[in-house]
């Protein structure tokens, strides 16, 4: 009888913890369960605070940016007006924002998966490049194949190439304990040089050679692999909806499948995961490969939907911005969507700002950096809040306090 009740309580507790995790707040939730009456209110307040944290970071970054602009004799209101107007104010701006959000969602998903296994994938930039190269080379080699067959295969080739690029640092980390941050940085440089080489030699557009202009770009992809535009004469293509669908798929993968459970378990506590019989090395490698294939797919989709050929600078900073997007989305696949929309908009708006009020687009890169610094710091404040509440919760009952020992105070993906 007694056991029955505790079992039910335990189940309820887990259910709520699960819900809270989806919303990006688990530790404070588990605490609030100790006092059910005030718990709900506290949970929602905590969730609201946590959701606001990244937004607050953006606002603070914009204010700091405004100060810099003032110091340099530029009108910040004019600049930001041009930026937001350019990104969200017009149909053409909005479609461009959605077009930029597409690769950002995909890269953000890849970074999120890897991060859930506590693998920091800095290599998205290189994975995008090889994904684009792989997809282009494949589509050009089999240009006579029918579209219904060639188009999905081309996208898949991009994902495969990116996955291979993620496999190297993945294996190095899992088997030889090589720091993945460093190896992915090197892989980025190698991918960049590989693109330079291919676009100036083997993959250079024959038309460019004939014209003698030698602009480093490949020949145009066969028309049957072009992704249709949603709005004609804009860059907004159907790949965006593929990215949305994949965000939902990744949510299911992470929270409803064994692999996802293993990834999160490894990220949460590798030693415990190993003890529980999870093949940690394989899971780490797999997380890196998945991360790489999402970035590679982003490269392929960018080629098929926007440029229709591979051009120099195809990665366009999406690799690093994808990290910002993933962090801002609270490392949750669904959080990545609004986050990508915002940062895609900032990228479009930055170009607009540079054209109309002559404020360099580099401002946005600097602001993104500030946002990252603030978001990673904000974990500390959430933790402080939890610790405070914990000491409050400890007072009425000692036993609960023992159960809710604080976890390591770092940006640990919540299980």
């Amino acid at each position: 009888m007694f056991g029955q009740i505790t079992y039910r309580q335990e189940k309820k507790k887990r259910y709520y913890a699960g819900c809270a995790t989806v919303l990006g707040e688990s530790k404070s939730m588990r605490l609030s369960l100790t006092s059910p009456s005030r718990g709900t209110w506290r949970l929602w307040r905590a969730i609201a605070l946590d959701a606001c944290m990244p937004l607050l970071a953006v606002v603070v970054a914009l204010c700091l940016g405004a100060l810099v602009l003032l110091g340099l004799g530029k009108d910040p209101i004019l600049a930001y007006g041009a930026m937001f107007g350019g990104a969200f104010g017009t149909v053409s701006g909005l479609t461009q924002t959605l077009a930029k959000a597409t690769p950002l969602i995909l890269v953000g998903l890849g970074v999120t998966i890897a991060f859930r296994a506590r693998v920091i994938n800095i290599g998205a930039e290189g994975q995008i490049i090889v994904g684009a190269l792989g997809a282009t080379a494949f589509a050009l080699s089999f240009a006579e194949w029918p579209g219904w067959f060639l188009l999905p295969l081309t996208a898949l080739m991009g994902a495969l190439a990116g996955g291979l690029w993620g496999l190297v640092p993945g294996i190095l980390k899992a088997r030889l304990a090589v720091n993945e941050i460093l190896s992915t940085v090197m892989m980025n440089a190698i991918a960049f040089q590989l693109m330079n080489f291919l676009l100036r030699g083997p993959m250079l557009d024959p038309a460019q050679v004939a014209a003698g202009t030698n602009i480093p770009q490949s020949a145009a992809l066969p028309a049957q692999v072009w992704i249709e535009r949603v709005v004609p004469r804009t860059l907004f293509h159907w790949g965006f909806f593929l990215a949305l669908a994949l965000a939902i798929a990744v949510t299911i993968l992470l929270w409803r499948t064994t692999l996802g459970y293993r990834i999160r378990a490894v990220g949460f506590n590798p030693a415990a995961a190993r003890y529980a019989g999870i093949p940690v090395a394989t899971v780490i490698t797999l997380a890196m490969v998945l991360g790489g294939s999402f970035a590679g797919l982003a490269g392929a989709i960018e080629v098929m939907g926007v440029h229709r050929r591979i051009v120099e600078g195809i990665s366009g900073g999406y690799g690093f911005n994808g990290i910002v997007v993933a962090l801002f989305g609270r490392l949750h696949p669904l959080g990545v969507i609004p986050s990508a929309f915002l940062f895609g908009g900032l990228l479009v708006g930055a170009d607009q700002m540079q054209r109309t009020v002559q404020v360099p687009a580099a401002l946005i890169t600097a602001l993104n950096g500030l946002v990252v610094l603030m978001v990673v710091s904000s974990t500390y404040w959430s933790q402080q809040r939890i610790a405070r509440r914990q000491s409050e919760a400890a007072r009425p009952s000692e036993t609960h306090a023992k159960d809710e020992q604080p976890l390591d105070a770092r940006l640990t993906p919540d299980l």
Binding site: V68, L72, K74, I120, I122, V168, L172, L176, A177, V178, N179, I181, L182, S183, V185, M186, M187, N188, A189, I190, Q193, L194, N196, F197, R200, G201, F320, I323, V324, L327, V359, P360, A362, L363, I364, T365, A366, L367, N368, G369, L370, V371, V372, L373, V376, S377, T379, Y380, W381, Q383, P406, D408, A409, R410, L411
Partner: protein
């Protein structure tokens, strides 16, 4: 083939090896100090860019080279402090905070450059300084002893940092904080203060590395002119096993391969230049995989210190 590889080319390759090694030396030695105290500063690239810009800006506007160096050190230390605030006090995930610092430095240096100087121009940087006597040694003399002042400073820092880390109380404290902060804390070593100091010094040295490019090696500033040097500098610290001399040897090997690759391009041997450019990166990956480097790794590297939590 024989006439291609003469003593003059040997001198030339060695000379450019030393020259290429300089920015890496500054950045990697600074990174060595901060990593020995347990903090991974991945924002070196951003700090280098800001240092390069600050030094260049001051030299363009005032003409004072000393002013340029001071400006770089000041800006680098400031960014180091910011990094310490985020990584030490706020206990942020160090791999990510470094990316934030990189983006901040990359964006801010480009923004400031565009809005203040605008176009690419060159400055009169540090002149070549031939050490009397030493530079007249055949082959080696011109290769090793005909460089600008900052090159000598960079190499002089190697024994200096080694001495600091291994032979002084400060160094002992830094290493203690990096290996076992809890124990160091128990013995009264100010863990947080030491980590702040090392990350700040590391930032200043990274900025010097940037300055060694913009006012000594190439004498211009361009957006994103470091092009990944800062990230590689971090990798070379792992490669060098967290010992200043080891780090220097790693840097020299990396620079030698880079110099050889440039020479290969110049003489036009049939390797596509873009493929040859990959060589140093591939080499670094292989070195990271094969080197028995984990033995020297500070035990608490990337672990934030939080008193009361073990």
């Amino acid at each position: 083939m024989e006439q291609l590889f003469t003593l003059t080319t040997l001198t030339g390759i060695l000379h450019s090896t030393i020259r290429l090694a300089t920015p890496y030396l500054f950045a990697s030695l600074g990174e060595t100090i901060s990593q020995r105290s347990g903090v991974l500063n991945l924002g070196v690239e951003g700090q280098m860019l800001m240092g390069a810009f600050a030094a260049f800006f001051v030299v363009v506007t005032t003409g004072s080279l000393l002013g340029g160096v001071v400006a770089a050190i000041f800006v680098g230390a400031l960014l180091g402090l910011l990094m310490a605030l985020v990584s030490v006090s706020f206990r942020a995930e160090q791999g990510i905070s470094g990316i934030g610092m990189y983006l901040l430095g990359l964006g801010l240096s480009s923004l400031l450059f565009r809005l203040t100087l605008g176009s690419v121009q060159s400055v009169r940087g540090f002149a070549e300084l031939a050490l009397p006597g030493l530079s007249s040694i055949p082959v080696l003399g011109p290769a090793l002893f005909k460089h600008s002042l900052l090159v000598y400073v960079a190499f002089a820092l190697v024994p200096l940092v080694a001495y600091l880390l291994n032979r002084t109380t400060w160094g002992l404290n830094i290493r203690a904080v990096g290996d076992n902060p809890q124990a160091a804390d128990t013995l009264g070593v100010p863990v947080i203060a030491i980590r702040y100091a090392t990350v700040t010094v590391g930032g200043a040295m990274a900025a010097m590395g940037g300055a060694s490019l913009s006012i000594s090696a190439v004498n211009i500033f361009q957006e994103n002119m470091t092009g990944g040097i800062g990230f590689i500098a971090v990798a070379l610290v792992y490669f060098g096993g967290w010992r200043p001399v080891g780090v220097m040897l790693g840097i020299l090997l990396f620079s030698l391969v880079s110099a050889l690759q440039i020479w290969l391009q110049l003489v036009g041997i049939g390797i596509p230049s873009d493929l040859a450019v990959m060589l140093p990166y591939i080499l670094t990956i292989i070195a990271l995989a094969l080197a028995p480097q984990r033995t020297g790794q500070p035990a608490a590297l990337t672990r934030p210190f939080n008193r009361g939590m073990v």
